[in-house]
């Protein structure tokens, strides 16, 4: 986009009339006319220039600058609203050459072109002098013959700003540094085992940068992806601190096996299953919580076969590449960052008031013709109706506070650089009490050698410590408790155990029964690259991850219902995960012929991951004070788990670039995984891709409207080995509780036959950009099919087991369409408005299933329907006579059972996406991001198995219920008995009545930023100061009548509304 700006700027016309003026003065005048400031890297360069005489009228700025600067050995560039002036590093080398034609003297000019960003040689840059033209070689060098001893060179390369450099005949070598352009087409895109640009990428990749991550006040990096990337669904399991997020890329590929993408942090696999009990029990303590989002440079999500095939067996569900921040070369910089925020539940569930609740209960007794007694209706007879319990505000009415601070220091010389950073994060809980999560993280990176050096090496060490504490039960599960009659805490702050709480439990007792997890994560890495030749290098990427989870839970006797007569109990769990990864890789590039370039890559992977888990369950503590130690327990049951996973693979890839117009790629991988029986361990995966940049066709090249157009396609296979370890062995395991000592029990059926899940992925993409990228569009169509998925094939239990892992005989197709449009509707000097929208449609379909009718799946799947289809009854409303729900007896046999099931719908999003607007006015900038999802959800009333009036509270939407014969009502009659009405509730809960619209539009994120002007900054002694106000989950528009359309459950904390204020300083 800045390229466009330059064109604009440089075409601006200016007038000057100066005699013997200083350059400074002339620059000031130009600034006034153009609105662009001049930045001079070294003031000495211009301070001596005081002899400028210039007289121009409405001359393009470019010409004026050329005249002013180029002749004075200065070069300039437009960067960030400024014209930056540097010394032309000319030391131009010109050797006199006596050519055959002595009449004409020729000079040979030599130079070297590098990228300013990383110092890497730029190959293929075009170098022009007058009418002569050449290209740089692999080392960025060029030689060109020129006629004149002095002049100006123009250097162009895709992805970089055009550069003009003056030369004169005395020097020997011209060094030219090109500044990377801001054209989004030339933005780097991280792909498997390499980097490319958006322009030349032949795969489907969606990315988010550190700026967008920083805009969101979230502690989990995955949360920052929500709604931002087409084809990627990120869902939050609950609103508790440290909650887990699930990521699904292009739908559910595997029917039953893991649908997690492969996560790689700087190329090292990151396991989403941390083995933590806590994490698996409550969907909190997400392993991603150990990653500080501020340390992330970018996240790239690889989607199609071209992008993921290189990850072979692990690529089927897509690949998420997380790149952490590298050490920045140059002047020492010190960043300080602090923010703090508050979060709360934005909407409490509106349940029945105590009066309405009692009315409903009495109605249930009346309907059942049962007289309420203390035994069957304690809530009507035995509870104090003067006490009202608003469970929503009791349980999650608190405002939680969060704090995040970080310090980082980075810098170094041209050869060696470092980065040190440390951060502290803490987040409270909306539950009463002091529970919450906190994290301390530390990163150090040391890099030596520039990319052009023979050897470059970089090591990093990341360490983080995390602590989570939380009640042992989801308190939100009490939201549907009887809404009155409970004294929870007495005057002395002790838990009350009276008749009411003894019979119904005291939800606050869970505040004293806590789970605590202390986590450590060490992540050392080593990367090295050795260049044998300019076009041949060997690199090695290794990393080790060691993480430990030290968890304990404590349930003191005082927090246990005295009716249960239980003593204190505790559990202690230690989990140790150790994994390492070694990946050597050889890169070779080859110019086959003029304009035909090939890049080859060959490499291999060795990975091993072991998990060790020890657990002690301790019960019968006589004394609550001893709960922290195992020794205080009356009895202890130990158990342990261990798993070992190994993986090896070899891969190769070739990319061909023909005249920058045709791109061809092919990749192959052979993988072995320990998760399969010996004969089925290895599998081969591969992909082919091609792209045509049709704007390179001469006819379109000159188009004023279409600045870039690319059509790409890829096809290939990927696999999935997320099936758990050891699944093929008919092992015996030691039973947790022995029968007269140690006991061995069969774990699973012997099953050596299953093989890899393989998915065939087809992707066709179109990328267009108009008016110099002022508007750009990205569209992808994909179709993934599979006919050998691994499923836990349901078995009749007479086999001894409920299911067996088996390659699925059915054929499943996932297809979808993704569209991303970005535009810059407004762009003036002071105001910039960028707007982007992404939308994804997704469809999943079971295409074929041999013998479905006679299989065990006959009541769960239907050919032609999505795999997520729910089978159930067709709902026919409430019978006005009986007040019971009615469903259709589809097969007309007079009974209601699974034979009557029809496909009733599914709960997967049908389309989803996000809308982002960024507006910056001067020093202010504002991001507003909306997320939208069109989907079905569970109806909060129909989906409940408990009838109205059974004693659990419900949302206050049940006035329209059957009360007497003849009533035409939405909801069935209240009951508390086991009768035909209750059976009809079960039918309804398994019918299409539960399917309801849960689409939503959410104001997901607002980010207001103010950059304090540099004049103030310099007074404060800081280089930059930015203040920000950020909000998350601010507003949700939905027709869904439940608590939240994303979490849906009435028994979980919904996503919290967060406000956060922060300041960012750089010294």
């Amino acid at each position: 986009m800045l390229l466009h700006v330059h064109a604009n700027v440089l075409a601006q016309r200016i007038s000057l009339n100066e005699k013997k003026a200083s350059l400074q003065k002339v620059m000031d005048k130009i600034s006034k006319q153009t609105g662009y400031d001049f930045l001079v890297l070294d003031y000495k360069l211009i301070s001596d220039i005081k002899d400028i005489t210039i007289q121009i009228q409405k001359t393009p700025l470019k010409e004026a600058l050329d005249e002013l600067l180029i002749s004075r050995n200065l070069q300039y560039n437009i960067e960030d609203n400024s014209i930056v002036i540097r010394e032309a590093r000319r030391v131009a080398a010109v050797r006199n050459i006596l050519t055959e034609d002595v009449q004409q003297q020729q000079y040979e000019l030599q130079g070297e072109v590098r990228s300013l960003a990383d110092g890497q040689a730029i190959e293929g840059a075009s170098v022009t002098v007058d009418k002569k033209h050449t290209l740089t070689d692999r080392e960025g060098r060029f030689t060109i013959s020129v006629d004149k001893p002095t002049g100006v060179l123009t250097i162009k390369h895709i992805g970089y700003n055009e550069q003009r450099v003056a030369y004169e005949n005395t020097a020997t070598l011209i060094e030219i540094s090109l500044i990377p352009s801001d054209n989004i087409l030339d933005e780097a895109v991280v792909i498997g085992y390499g980097i490319t640009t958006k322009r030349f990428n032949t795969g489907s990749v969606a990315s988010i940068g550190s700026k967008d991550i920083a805009a969101q006040p979230v502690s989990n990096p995955l949360a920052a992806l929500q709604g931002r990337l087409p084809g990627v669904i990120v869902e939050q399991n609950n609103g508790l601190p440290g909650a887990k997020f699930s990521v699904q890329i292009r739908g559910r590929n595997s029917i039953e096996q893991g649908n997690n993408p492969l996560f790689l942090i700087d190329g090292i696999p990151f396991d989403v299953d941390n083995g933590s009990n806590f994490s698996n029990t409550f969907n909190v303590n997400s392993p991603f919580n150990m990653i500080n989002p501020d340390e992330i440079e970018r996240i790239d999500v690889l989607k199609d076969a071209e992008a993921t095939s290189i990850y072979g067996s692990r690529g089927a569900n897509g690949v998420v590449l997380i790149t952490t921040k590298a050490a920045l070369r140059g002047r020492l910089q010190f960043h300080v960052f602090h923010n703090s925020g508050i979060s709360n539940v934005s909407q409490m569930p509106k349940v029945l008031s105590p009066e309405k609740f009692r009315e409903l209960r009495r109605e249930a007794f009346k309907n059942d013709k049962v007289t309420p007694t203390l035994g069957n209706a304690r809530d009507l007879i035995g509870l104090d109706t003067n006490i009202v319990n608003d469970w929503g505000s009791i349980i999650m009415g608190k405002t939680a506070h969060s704090r995040n601070s970080s310090l980082s220091l980075e810098g170094g010389s041209d050869m060696t650089s470092f980065r040190l950073s440390g951060a502290l994060y803490s987040e409270g809980n909306v539950y009463p009490g002091d529970d919450g999560v906190s994290r301390a993280s530390f990163t150090s990176i040391l890099s030596h050698g520039r990319p052009r050096d023979r050897l470059s090496i970089s090591t990093g060490l990341a360490y983080s410590y995390g602590k989570t504490s939380q009640a042992v039960a989801e308190l939100a599960e009490n939201l549907n408790k009887v809404p009155y009659g409970f004294r929870l805490i007495d005057e002395g702050g002790r838990l009350v155990w009276d008749d009411a709480t003894k019979n119904y439990g005291n939800p606050l007792s869970y505040l004293y029964q806590t789970f605590e997890s202390q986590n450590h994560r060490f992540f050392p890495t080593l990367r090295a690259k050795y260049r044998f030749m300019s076009n041949l290098s060997l690199s090695l990427n290794t990393g080790l991850t060691y993480d430990t989870y030290d968890e304990s839970s404590k349930s003191p006797k005082m927090a246990k219902n005295p009716n249960e007569g239980l003593k204190g109990s505790a559990s202690f769990t230690n989990t140790y995960n150790l994994s390492w990864n070694i990946e050597p890789q050889v890169d070779y590039t080859w110019s086959v012929a003029s304009g035909i370039d090939a890049a080859f890559l060959v490499g291999g992977t060795l990975t091993r991951r072991t998990m060790n888990n020890n657990q002690m369950s301790a019960i019968n503590y006589e004394n609550d004070a001893l709960l922290g130690t195992i020794k205080g327990a009356g009895s202890v049951t130990p158990s342990d788990r261990y798993s070992d996973y190994r993986y090896q693979g070899g891969f190769a890839r070739v990319h061909l670039n023909l005249k920058k117009q045709f791109l061809i790629g092919a990749s192959a991988r052979r993988d072995g995984s320990s998760r399969f029986a010996v004969d089925n361990r290895y599998a081969f995966f591969g992909a082919l891709s091609g792209a045509w940049i049709f704007t390179e066709v001469p006819l379109l090249k000159e188009s004023k409207y279409l600045s870039f157009g690319k059509l790409r396609a890829s096809y290939g296979t990927t696999g999935n080995d997320q099936i758990g370890d050891y699944m093929y062995l008919d092992n015996y395991k030691i039973a947790n509780d022995g029968y007269n000592g140690i006991s061995l029990q069969p774990m699973r059926l012997y099953n050596p036959t299953y093989g890899w899940e393989q998915f065939r992925k087809l992707d066709v993409g179109l990328e267009l950009s108009f008016w110099d990228s002022r508007l750009s569009l990205n569209a992808d169509y994909y179709k993934n099919t599979s006919d050998n998925q691994l499923v836990q094939y349901s078995l009749p239990d007479q086999t001894g087991f409920a299911s067996i892992l088996k390659n699925f005989p059915g054929k499943v197709r996932n297809q979808g369409f993704e569209l991303a449009v970005t535009g810059h509707p407004l762009r003036t000097e002071r105001i910039r408005w960028t707007s982007g929208i992404n939308i994804s449609w997704h469809r999943n379909k079971l295409l074929a299933f041999p013998d479905l009718e006679s299989s065990t799946y006959n009541s769960s799947y239907a050919v032609g329907q999505p795999l997520d289809i729910m089978m159930g009854f067709r709902f026919e409303g409430v019978d006005p006579q009986t007040g019971n729900y009615q469903v259709t007896d589809t097969n007309g046999d007079g009974t209601f059972n699974y034979l009557d099931y029809v496909p009733i719908g599914h709960f997967r999003p049908r389309f989803y996406g996000g809308l982002n607007n960024t507006l910056s006015i001067g020093s202010f900038s504002m991001d507003i991001f909306f997320q939208f999802v069109q989907q079905n959800g569970r109806h909060p009333i129909y989906s409940s198995l408990s009838p109205l009036g059974s004693g659990l509270n419900v949302l206050d939407i049940v006035d329209d219920r059957w009360r007497k014969e003849g009533d035409v009502a939405s909801y069935a009659k209240a009951t508390r008995s086991f009768n035909a009405t209750r059976t009809s509730y079960q039918w309804a809960s398994n019918s299409d009545a539960v399917i309801t619209d849960a689409s939503y539009l959410r104001l997901k994120n607002i980010n207001l930023m103010y950059s304090v002007p540099s004049s103030i900054c310099s007074k404060l002694g800081v280089k930059r100061l930015t203040l920000s106000l950020r909000g998350q989950n601010l507003l949700t528009l939905t027709k869904y009548m439940g608590l939240d359309p994303e979490v849906q459950s009435l028994r979980s904390v919904p996503p919290l509304r967060i406000w956060n204020f922060g300041a960012n300083l750089t010294f």
Binding site: Y739, Q798, G800, F801
Partner: protein, 455 residues
């Protein structure tokens, strides 16, 4: 160019060939492959223990954790559940899909126990263990498999007869005729009685010996009209003189009871038996969870010691409620195991078999053994056969109440279900003699048919 191929060659060699064994992983330390389980005697015995432990694995109310007592107990005329719930369908002998899960638990877990037994049998047969060790394994596994099949056939009628661990065979089986299953049970038990010794494997009665096998065979034979076989097995046990009736009724269900032939022990430290947890109220003020039917309680003669030793009553919200106290210990100190076979039953089996074989004289002797222990007067030797049948049924009802569903199986065996239960239960139908095949299983295996009366 040459060195490129050199490097690539080395890399691929290292990665693909040099680590050929790399993918062979360590097993979890708490797991063994089946082949390794049956390599030595003590490990193989832990697999047998695991087989019994499995029956205690799934919590209370399952086949061998009180389930056989409470569900058939309610289904017949012994018990009811104090609080209204879907268990009332058992009380009404009117099972619907509401209880599919309860029924499926019997089915699913039953076949898990059968799998464990089949796995032991196959493991032993494939092993190089000594003949004697093999015999123990196979004998005990036969016992376990037969025990489960006996109850499955009694509850459900025809059931698939799975005899191997190969899911490709067992997964496609339809229901086998009940008499075929019974035939297989009796043959297996015949074999097992030769494979097992008279001594218990670990010296405690938590694994079956030869007489436990015979006790089961006697029970199965009697239930299925093999009267002579039933007589012979029961006779062999009684004559062995290893067991004797405890004279004090309060000691019958203690761990050391001399009457016990086979008992399952607990697998964790929380309590003694599930039976005591179900029946003995938690504290002095709480109601019993399962309550004995008044009719049963009042059927005991005033002098019957069983009434006072095995039944307790309490007043709860104005109602006199009775509950069984055969198992008394609700504490964590282990004093009681779960008795599956005891000598008293064998006397009653031998008595009934004798009666069927036209030897009322022998029947009277055996009945009197039980009666005199209970403090009842002995029957006269000239008691009429018709009366003997009535007395026998009553004796069984009173001796074996709230134990392993005996009452329900007795009513079925003697063809009295219609008469007795039809009079008590308005929703009773003759087809209720078989429980509903779990619909969830029919759905998984379309070859399974539903029992009459439940379609």
């Amino acid at each position: 160019m040459n060195n490129i191929f050199y490097i690539i060659g080395i890399c691929s060699l290292v990665l693909l060939q040099g680590c050929k064994d790399f993918l062979t992983v360590d097993l979890p330390k708490d797991q063994l492959n089946r082949a390794n389980v049956f390599t030595d005697k003590s490990t193989a015995h832990t697999a047998l223990n695991g087989m019994y432990g499995l029956t205690q694995q799934f919590g209370g109310g399952r086949m061998f954790t009180g389930g056989l007592t409470i569900y058939p107990g309610m289904y017949a005329d012994e018990l009811y559940y104090f609080t209204a719930s879907n268990r009332d369908e058992f009380l009404e002998s009117n099972l619907t899909q509401q209880n599919d899960g309860t029924l499926a638990a019997f089915w699913i877990e039953g076949y898990q126990y059968i799998y464990a037994a089949n796995s032991c049998i196959e493991g032993a047969l494939d092993s190089n263990l000594d003949e004697g060790v093999k015999n123990t394994i196979i004998g005990e596994a036969y016992f376990m498999r037969s025990l489960v099949y006996y109850y499955l056939t009694e509850l459900f009628g025809d059931v698939p007869l799975v005899l191997s661990t190969d899911y490709r065979k067992s997964g496609t089986m339809a229901r086998a005729a009940k008499q075929d299953v019974v035939k297989k049970i009796l043959t297996d038990l015949q074999d097992a009685s030769h494979l097992l010794e008279a001594e218990y494997r670990d010296g405690v009665k938590n694994s079956p010996n030869r007489y436990a096998v015979q006790a089961l065979a006697a029970r199965v034979a009697l239930q299925n009209g093999e009267d002579q076989l039933a007589f012979d097995h029961a006779d062999a046990i009684i004559r062995s003189d290893i067991y004797e009736l405890e004279s004090e009724l309060s000691k019958v269900f203690l761990r050391e009871s001399k009457e016990t032939i086979f008992q399952l022990t607990r697998i964790n430290q929380l309590f003694n038996t599930w039976e005591s947890t179900f029946f003995v109220p938690a504290n002095s003020s709480s109601s019993p969870a399962y309550v004995l039917q008044q009719d049963l309680v009042h059927s005991f003669a005033p002098t019957d010691k069983r009434r006072s030793a095995w039944i307790e009553g309490r007043l709860y919200s104005g109602e006199q409620l009775y509950h069984p106290t055969k198992y008394k210990a609700r504490t964590t100190v282990l004093t009681e195991d779960y008795v599956l076979f005891r000598l008293a039953e064998q006397y009653l089996i031998r008595a009934e078999a004798a009666l069927r074989l036209d030897r009322p004289d022998l029947a009277i002797v055996d009945l009197n053994k039980i009666r005199s222990r209970s403090g009842l007067e002995k029957l006269a030797l000239d008691t009429l056969v018709a009366d003997l049948w009535k007395l026998l049924l009553t004796e069984r009802r009173q001796e074996l109440f709230a134990e392993l569903g005996y009452r329900w199986f007795d009513l079925k065996r003697l063809g009295k279900a219609d008469e007795v239960l039809g009079a008590l239960k308005p929703k009773w139908k003759s087809t209720a003699v078989h429980w509903m095949i779990p619909w969830s299983q029919i759905r998984k295996n379309p070859l399974l048919t539903q029992n009459e009366g439940y379609e």
